[in-house]
């Protein structure tokens, strides 16, 4: 009897067989659930007399989107509206990620400062911002602050920049007729700059000094660009200042109130979380590391640059990735303050067409793609800075 049980365990007691069985049962359940859901969806759509399909994306949209990045006309199709929304989302997310990282790093270091006032200010900032829901903050920034800035007629002006409740108006350089000639010069200058970069890099290599050949190249490019500017004759770029028109400013470029408020809210909010990551990352670097670096005679800034930050980054980067993802996804709260991100465009499209399911599928695909892209970049970076252990 004992020998028999050794050779053939009944399957409901055999761990290996049970594991396989559980997997099979699970797959079957998932398939059944999927089938039921699709079937149910079809029934519901039939009941409502709706059809499922993506053809309507070709239809004319008929609504207006304020110009934030791409121009949009009411005669453009729905799919292009989604593209415009996506570009607007990418715009606010990308700029937001950069600014939030800068703010977070600054605040994280400030929090560790030995200066009582600076570290206290950083602490209060983090504690207040982290503990208020982002939606509430966005509504506050938009309706209580940005919309309550002075009217366009009474804008706050500094160096040709106008700030009002209509947005931030900045001077901007637009190309003139001679721009194409200058562009050729710029091309040549770029090639020379690349040559300068390679030369300087080799020179540094031969001299075996650390340095930044990129700076040399940039300098060369800028000097050449400035010199050829005068050869071109009439200025290839015209600086345009915002001028007050009937209701608003014309000329220059504008960051709309909605964009500014959303960007501001996202940066302030995410910056608080990033500052905590930076603080934790720096604190995770053992005290002995700083002492060893100091004992070798490295100055404070070099200790930070060569020893502390490279080690802190490996602690910071993985959670930082999820903060970047959060910021991107949180930008969908734009719907509350009138910025035309992809969610807002999707909502409007659903409302005007009734094709909720299709639009939501596209919307989810948009965010999934963005998130996967960010994760990919950050994971690649993380692999690069990972420590080698035994």
């Amino acid at each position: 009897m004992a020998e028999k049980s050794k050779t053939s365990i009944p399957f409901w007691r055999d761990i290996r067989k049970l594991n396989v069985l559980i997997q099979i049962v699970f797959v079957i359940l998932v398939i059944i659930a999927g089938f039921v859901l699709v079937n149910n969806m079809q029934t519901s759509l039939d009941q409502l007399g709706k059809t499922f399909g993506f053809e309507f994306f070709q239809d004319q949209s008929s609504f207006a989107i304020p110009p934030e990045s791409l121009e949009f006309d009411r005669t453009d199709p729905y799919w292009y509206a989604i593209v415009v929304g996506l570009v607007n989302t990418v715009k606010v997310a990308l700029i937001g990620i950069i600014l939030a990282t800068i703010l977070g790093t600054f605040m994280g270091i400030a929090r560790l400062s030995s200066n009582w006032l600076i570290s206290k200010i950083a602490e209060i900032y983090v504690e207040i911002i982290r503990n208020i829901p982002l939606l509430v903050q966005l509504i506050f920034w938009y309706f209580a602050v940005f919309v309550n800035l002075p009217d366009a007629r009474f804008s706050i002006e500094f160096f040709g920049v106008f700030l009002s409740n209509r947005g931030l108006f900045l001077p901007w350089a637009f190309p003139s007729e001679t721009f194409s000639i200058w562009a050729i010069y710029l091309g040549v200058a770029l090639i020379i700059a690349i040559i300068a970069y390679i030369y300087r890099r080799n020179q540094l290599k031969r001299a075996e000094r650390p340095g930044f050949p990129g700076f040399t190249a940039m300098g060369v490019f800028m000097v050449l660009a400035a010199m050829t500017w005068f050869f071109t004759g009439p200025a290839p770029l015209n600086l345009e200042f915002p001028v007050f028109g009937r209701f608003n400013f014309d000329g220059g470029i504008v960051l709309s109130t909605e964009f500014s408020a959303l960007l501001f809210g996202l940066v302030i909010y995410t910056g608080a979380f990033i500052s905590e990551l930076v603080r934790a990352g720096i604190q995770a670097v053992a005290k002995g590391q700083v002492e060893a670096a100091k004992a070798l005679g490295l100055k404070g800034s070099k200790v930070l640059q060569l020893v502390v930050l490279p080690q802190a980054l490996r602690v910071i980067v993985p959670p930082l990735t999820s903060q970047y993802l959060n910021l991107t996804k949180n930008s969908s709260l734009a719907v509350a303050i009138g910025y035309f991100d992809v969610t807002r465009v999707a909502n409007t499209t659903i409302n005007q067409t009734g094709h909720g399911l299709e639009v939501i599928i596209i919307l989810m695909a948009c965010y999934l793609t963005l998130s996967l892209l960010i994760s990919m970049v950050m994971n690649a970076y993380n692999r690069r800075i990972k420590l080698v252990e035994r």
């Binding site: 075996e208 002995g288 060893a292 670096a293 004992a295 060569l306 020893v307 080690q311 420590l387």
Partner: protein, 251 residues
Amino acid sequence: MAKAEKSDEGIIVCREVNKWFGDFHVLRGISVTVQKGEVIVICGPSGSGKSTFIRTINRLEEHQKGDIIVDGIELSNDLRNIDAIRSEVGMVFQQFNLFPHLTVKDNVTLAPIWVRKQRKSEAEALAMQLLERVGIPEQAEKYPGQLSGGQQQRVAIARALAMQPKIMLFDEPTSALDPEMIKEVLDVMKELAETGMTMLVVTHEMGFAREVADRIIFFDYGQLVEENTPENFFNNPEHDRTKLFLSQILH
């Protein structure tokens, strides 16, 4: 043991050094003069202030009263003086404190390149020379995490030596090592002492102290209790507290 010529000034002069951690008076009026080429072993019970004392010499700890003069430079709040002294004084820590994100070679060349402004090839040649001296040239391309404790501590010694310091401070360099690795580190230190390096060593390795030290300093309760030659220190200690300490660690 070959002694370098002694000047009356001394390469390290400490006069009435006092330090407090909050209310805790950790160094109570320490006065020591170290001559060039001398090897001083500092011992004492834990918490006696011996580690704190050598850490004040390169300003990892600030002293509040008294003077410390290293190689003619007074240690004050002047950043330039602190930087100058730190590049003259090498230090080896109990926990090695190698930079885990850099290879062994990069650990050793980091300071010569960024502080001494040496060429990379120059710094690397020196690094290889030093790694050979501490007996691990084959580990140059590895990362600290891939080495044993003894190997790491030898890299740490090489890293400190790469700055070509006049003085080396050792803060319990063998305390974190497995017993079988202690000897390889002590051997490197012995070899270093023979070249005439000025060394201050905080350690419990009494064998090392007896064999290598020129003088032994005994700390207790933040005070310098006894300063003596190894022979007298072990065979004929002057103070009761020294006797008590020795009876506790020697059997």
